[in-house]
């Protein structure tokens, strides 16, 4: 590696899986840029705790009271981040390297989640766009329901160090529903 050259991003999911195609997939999206924005008041995102909104290629999640998490490509996340109103005390922390992110997609995605997480995944309680945090297979995760083409889909993120464990735990839970590892 030449000094000064930016190396490639290493995902916490290091095991190799046969890529598959199927109605139920789990994909590793850990390479996405993640930004945590902390502020007492909404710094212009227009979304509150528990909900999310898409801003161009960025998913803006009201992750906790006073905390928004931005997910997307580095360039897009930077664009949104640059537009944040900085009045009052606002902190912007890059968690790109600190979090693993997976996408679980398919009609049975909720059936997989209900094996490993105690939240109610029904439409009224967790509609498309809903944001929550909860324990998944005993790891604290941030969760967003973010449907794709009308199919149930969830973004699940956890502390990077748990990434490999959690990826395998979700695959184990989905095995009876023929889950496959999808392309990022």
């Amino acid at each position: 590696m030449e000094r000064g050259q930016v190396p490639t991003f290493e995902s916490p999911v290091v095991k190799q899986y046969p890529a598959g195609v199927g109605p139920l997939t789990l994909a590793d999206l850990s390479h996405l840029a993640k930004l945590s924005v902390r502020a007492d008041d909404d710094p212009g995102f227009g979304v509150g705790f528990g909900a999310s909104r898409t801003d161009g290629g960025v998913l803006v999640c009201g992750q906790r009271p006073g905390e928004w998490v931005l997910l997307g490509s580095p360039a897009e996340v930077a664009r949104v981040s640059d537009g944040i109103a900085r009045s009052g005390h606002v902190s912007v922390i890059d968690l790109t390297h600190g979090r693993a992110v997976f996408r679980l997609t398919g009609t049975d995605a909720s059936a997989v989640l209900e094996k490993v997480c105690s939240l109610d995944w029904s439409d009224p309680m967790t509609p498309d766009g809903a944001v929550a945090s909860a324990s998944v297979a005993k790891v604290v995760c941030d969760l967003v329901r973010h449907d794709v083409d009308g199919r149930h889909s969830y973004l699940i993120s956890c502390d990077r160090s748990f990434g490999q464990y959690l990826f395998d735990a979700i695959l184990d839970a989905g095995a009876e529903l023929d889950i496959v590892v999808g392309a990022p």
């Binding site: 705790f49 906790r64 009271p65 105690s118 929550a132 945090s133 324990s135």
Partner: protein, 82 residues
Amino acid sequence: MLLVPCPHCGPRNSADLHYVGESRPRPDPAVASPEEWRAYLYLQANPAGWLRETWYCRAGCRQYFVLERNTETNRFRQPPVP
């Protein structure tokens, strides 16, 4: 599994939270006598009935909050669900 009415998330399983304990005011450490300070450290009301207590929503919103719970029935003062 106790259902704790998190004022931010909504009702949550107690396993998602961390129980901090009885909510008590902290004496001014600059002037507290040993008796006052150690009463703060060690003596709790431990009532059989309504208790003001602090919870931390560890797996959820990461907020500390105070609730009132009846220690004999485990019902919270705000109507629990269900």
